[in-house]
C-alpha cells in the first residue's frame, strides 16, 4: 500500500474543506439556501393572506381593528432592536470585544423573550374574547366569514413565526454559551454569523406581518 493510501486509510472521516475559510464559505452558502427555503415556507401563508384579502376586502380591515395596535407596534420595536443587537454582537466578536458581545447577546435574548411575552398576552386576550381559529371562533361582534378567516390566518402566521422565534432564541442561547466559554472567538465565529442571519430573517418576516395584521384600514 502506498504511503498516501495508508495515510488515507487511517483517517477517520474525509474532511471536504481543508481551510477554515472554505468551510466558512460553504456554511454561509448553505445558510442562505436554507433561509431561502424558510422564506418559501412563509410565502404560502402570505399568498393565502393575499388571496383571502382579495375575497374579503373590508372584513379584513374590520377584523384587524381588534388586534391591539400597541402590542403589535411594541413588538415590532422589540424585534428590530433584538435584530440590531444580534448584528452588534457579531460586530463585537469580530472586534474581539467579548464582554460587549455577551451583553449584546443577552439583549437579543431578553428582547426576544419580551416579544414572546407580549405575544402570549395578546393570544390570551384574544382567546378570552372568543377570537380563536376556525371552529373555535366565538367572537360575536364580528361574526362574518371574512373576520373569522382573518383571525385564523393571524394565528397561523404569528404562530409559525413564534415557533421560529423560539428556535432562534434557542440558537442565541447556545451562541451566548459559546461566546462565554470562548469557543466562539474573533478568529472562529462562523456559527454566530449563521445564527444571526437566521435571527434577522425572523425579524424580516415580522416586519411584513405587522402591517398586514395590524395596520390595515
Amino acid at each position: 500500500m502506498s504511503r498516501e493510501s495508508a495515510a488515507l486509510a487511517s483517517q477517520a472521516e474525509p474532511s471536504p474543506y481543508a481551510q477554515p475559510e472554505t468551510r466558512r464559505a460553504a456554511l454561509t452558502l448553505a445558510i442562505w439556501v436554507f433561509l431561502g427555503s424558510e422564506t418559501m415556507l412563509f410565502a404560502g401563508l402570505f399568498a393565502l393572506y393575499t388571496g383571502y384579502r382579495a375575497l374579503y376586502g373590508a372584513d379584513f380591515a374590520h377584523a384587524a381593528a381588534f388586534n391591539e395596535e400597541w402590542i403589535g407596534s411594541l413588538n415590532t420595536f422589540v424585534l428590530i432592536s433584538s435584530s440590531f443587537f444580534a448584528a452588534w454582537a457579531l460586530h463585537a466578536v469580530r472586534a474581539g470585544r467579548r464582554v460587549m458581545a455577551l451583553a449584546s447577546l443577552c439583549a437579543v435574548i431578553a428582547l426576544g423573550l419580551c416579544f414572546l411575552g407580549l405575544k402570549s398576552l395578546e393570544y390570551y386576550d384574544h382567546l378570552s374574547r372568543g377570537i380563536a381559529p376556525g371552529q373555535f371562533y366565538t367572537f360575536t361582534r364580528l361574526p362574518q366569514h371574512g373576520a373569522r378567516l382573518f383571525f385564523t390566518l393571524y394565528y397561523f402566521m404569528t404562530g409559525l413565526h413564534a415557533l421560529h422565534v423560539i428556535v432562534g432564541l434557542s440558537i442565541m442561547a447556545w451562541l451566548l454559551h459559546r461566546v462565554h466559554r470562548k469557543r466562539t472567538t474573533r478568529e472562529r465565529h462562523v456559527e454566530l454569523e449563521l445564527g444571526a442571519l437566521y435571527w434577522h430573517l425572523v425579524d424580516i418576516v415580522w416586519i411584513f406581518l405587522w402591517p398586514l395584521l395590524y395596520l390595515i384600514r
Binding site: M1, S2, E4, S5, L8, A9, Q11, E13, P14, P16, Y17, T22, A25, A26, L29, A30, V33, F34, G36, S37, E38, M40, L41, A43, G44, L45, A47, L48, G51, Y52, L55, Y56, P133, G134, Q135, F136, Y137, Q144, H145, G146, R148, L149, T152, L153, Y155, F156
Partner: protein, 542 residues
C-alpha cells in the same frame, strides 16, 4: 481492455474498495461516505418501488372486472392513495438524486465527498423516519383521499390523514437537506480548474433539481401542515363553513406539485444525457443547450401550476393564463429531446441495456410529453380531467420517463458501483419486457380516458372491460421485467464478471476512478484536464 484499464493496472496497488474498507454494520448505518449513503438510498427506494408496485398490481387486479374482484371500494381508494404517496415521495423524488446523485456527483467534480457528509447521513435517516411514519398510516387503516389530499375530503375523511401528511412532511425535510448539500457541494467543491461549463450534464441536472427542491418543498410542507391541522382540529383555513376556500388549497398544493414533477424528471434527464453520450461515444450535440434548457424547465415549471385546476372552479381568466404558460415549458423538454437524438448521429453505437432504456425513454417520454401539452390545453382538459387520459399521461412521463431513466442509470453505473458486469442478454430481455409491458399497461388507459372512464373509480361499465384487462396484462409483463431485473442485478453483485474501471469506454469523469471506487474516491486525483465528453479527440472507440 480499455486504455484506462491498462493504465490502472500499472499504477500502484489499489486501496480496498469502499465496500470492504470497513465491514461492520455500524460502519454502514452511520457512514458518512457518500457512496455508502447512495447504496442505503438504493435499498430504501427499491423497497419503496416494490411496495408501490405491489399496490399497483393489486389495483390492476381489482380492475380486471367491472365490479368487485378482490377488494371493496374503500380498500381500493386507500390503495390508489397509498400507491401515489409511496411512489411519488418514497421513490420518484429521492431515487435518482439519493442513489446516483450521492454516489456520482462528488466523484464527477473531483471531490472526496459532499460538502456536509453528516448532513447527508441525516438526510437518509430522516427519509427512513418519514417513510416509517407514512407507512404507519397503513397500519392505522390507510388513507383514502388520493395522493393530492384535496380538501374538503381530506379534512373530513376518517382515514389516517394525520399520519400520512406528517410522514410526507418529514420526507420533504429529507429532500431539502439533500438539496442544500448538493447545491453547496457543486458550488464549493469542484476541483481546481473545473469550471461550471465543464461539468458533466448529470451534475447540472442534480443541481437544477436541488434548486427546485429547496424552493418548492417548503410550500408542500405548509400545505400538508394546514391540511393536517384542518383534519385534526378543524381550524378551517380551507373550510367554507369557516370562511375558507378549498380552491386555495389546490393553489398551494400544486405550486409545489407541478415543480415536483420536474424534480422527478430532471435527474432522469441528467442520466439520459450521460447514457446517450457514453453509448454513442459522441459529445452532446450542444452542451449549452442542454444546460440552459435545464434551467428553463426549473424556472418555467413554477409558472404553470394552475393547469391542474382547470375544472376546479377557479377563474377562467387565471385558467387561461396558466394554459398559455404551460405551453412554454414543453419547449425546453423538446430542445433536450432533439439534442439527444442529434447526439447519436455519426456515433459509434454500443447497443447495450442502458441504450435500450434510452430508446424506450425517448419513445415513451415524447409520447407522454406530447399528451401533456394536450391536457395543458384548457378546452381539451375539460373533457380529459380526472379521467384515465391524465393517468396515462403522467405514467408515461413518470414511469416511461423517470423509471426508465432510473433503470438506465442502474445498468450504466452498475459496473462503477460494484466493479462487476450484469448479464447483457438478460438486460436486453428485461428492458424489452419493461418497455413493452409498460406500453400495454398505459396505452389502453389513454383510450379508456378518452372514452370517458374516470380515474379513481372502483367500478366501471362493462364496455370498458377489455381495455382494463389489456392494461392489467401489460402490468403483469412490466412486473415480470422488473422482477427479472432485480434478480439478475442481485446475482451479478456477487457473481458478475469483473468489469474493469471503464467497461463502456466513457469519457465522463467518474470512469477515471476505480470500479468500485475506494473509500475516499481516488488515491491520486484523476486527470480533469481532458473534458467529460472529449470523444472526438481520441478518434472513436478506445
Amino acid at each position: 481492455m480499455s486504455v484506462d484499464e491498462g493504465m490502472a493496472s500499472q499504477a500502484a496497488p489499489r486501496e480496498r474498495s469502499f465496500w470492504t474498507a470497513d465491514t461492520s454494520v455500524r460502519s454502514w448505518l452511520l457512514t458518512r461516505d457518500h457512496k455508502r449513503i447512495g447504496i442505503l438510498f438504493l435499498v430504501g427506494t427499491s423497497l419503496s418501488l416494490a411496495l408501490g408496485g405491489l399496490f399497483a398490481l393489486l389495483l390492476r387486479l381489482e380492475l380486471l372486472t367491472p365490479d368487485r374482484t378482490i377488494m371493496g371500494p374503500t380498500t381500493y381508494n386507500k390503495l390508489f392513495t397509498q400507491h401515489g404517496v409511496v411512489m411519488v415521495w418514497m421513490f420518484m423524488i429521492p431515487a435518482i438524486p439519493g442513489i446516483f446523485g450521492n454516489f456520482m456527483l462528488p466523484i464527477m467534480i473531483g471531490a472526496r465527498d459532499v460538502a456536509f457528509p453528516t448532513l447527508n447521513l441525516a438526510s437518509f435517516w430522516v427519509y427512513v423516519l418519514g417513510a416509517v411514519v407514512t407507512l404507519t398510516a397503513l397500519a392505522a387503516g390507510g388513507v383514502d383521499t388520493g395522493w393530492t389530499f384535496y380538501v374538503p375530503y381530506s379534512a373530513t375523511s376518517l382515514s389516517a390523514v394525520g399520519w400520512t401528511v406528517t410522514g410526507v412532511f418529514i420526507l420533504g425535510i429529507s429532500t431539502i437537506m439533500s438539496a442544500i448539500n448538493f447545491i453547496v457541494t457543486t458550488h464549493t467543491l469542484r476541483v481546481q480548474g473545473l469550471g461550471w461549463m465543464q461539468l458533466p450534464l448529470f451534475v447540472w441536472a442534480i443541481y437544477g433539481t436541488a434548486i427546485i427542491q429547496v424552493v418548492a418543498t417548503p410550500v408542500l410542507g405548509l400545505s400538508l401542515l394546514l391540511v393536517g391541522l384542518d383534519h385534526g382540529f378543524k381550524l378551517g383555513i380551507f373550510d367554507p363553513q369557516y370562511g375558507g376556500d378549498p380552491i386555495f388549497y389546490q393553489h398551494l398544493f400544486w405550486f409545489y406539485s407541478h415543480p415536483a414533477v420536474y424534480i422527478m424528471i430532471l435527474p432522469g434527464f441528467g442520466v439520459i444525457s450521460e447514457v446517450v453520450s457514453s453509448f454513442s461515444h459522441n459529445p452532446p450535440v450542444s452542451y449549452r443547450l442542454i444546460v440552459y434548457s435545464t434551467f428553463g424547465i426549473s424556472f418555467v415549471g413554477f409558472l404553470t401550476w394552475g393547469h391542474h385546476m382547470f375544472v376546479s372552479g377557479m377563474s377562467t381568466f387565471d385558467a387561461g393564463i396558466f394554459g398559455l404558460l404551460s405551453m412554454f415549458v414543453a419547449i425546453f423538454s423538446a430542445i433536450k429531446v432533439f439534442a439527444w437524438t442529434m447526439t447519436l448521429r455519426g456515433g459509434a453505437i454500443s447497443l447495450t441495456t442502458p441504450l435500450l432504456y434510452f430508446f424506450g425513454f425517448m419513445f415513451l417520454f415524447v409520447f407522454g410529453g406530447m399528451t401533456g401539452v394536450a391536457v395543458a390545453s384548457e378546452s381539451l382538459d375539460v373533457h380529459w380531467h380526472d379521467t384515465y387520459f391524465v393517468v396515462a399521461h403522467f405514467h408515461f412521463v413518470m414511469v416511461g420517463g423517470t423509471l426508465t431513466a432510473f433503470l438506465a442509470a442502474l445498468h450504466y453505473w452498475f459496473p462503477k458501483m460494484t466493479g462487476r458486469r450484469y448479464p447483457e442478454r438478460l438486460g436486453i430481455a428485461s428492458s424489452s419486457l419493461v418497455v413493452l409491458g409498460f406500453f400495454f399497461t398505459f396505452m389502453p388507459q389513454f383510450l379508456l380516458g378518452n372514452a370517458g372512464m374516470p380515474r379513481r373509480y372502483y367500478s366501471y361499465p362493462e364496455a370498458y372491460q377489455w381495455l382494463n384487462v389489456l392494461s392489467t396484462g401489460g402490468a403483469s409483463v412490466l412486473a415480470c421485467g422488473l422482477l427479472l431485473t432485480l434478480s439478475y442485478l442481485c446475482v451479478a453483485c456477487v457473481r458478475g464478471a469483473p468489469a474493469g474501471d471503464n467497461p463502456w469506454g466513457s469519457r465522463c469523469f467518474e470512469w477515471r476512478v476505480a470500479s468500485p471506487p475506494p473509500k475516499h474516491n481516488f488515491t491520486e486525483l484523476p486527470d480533469f484536464e481532458r473534458g467529460a465528453y472529449a470523444y472526438a479527440e481520441e478518434g472513436g472507440l478506445p
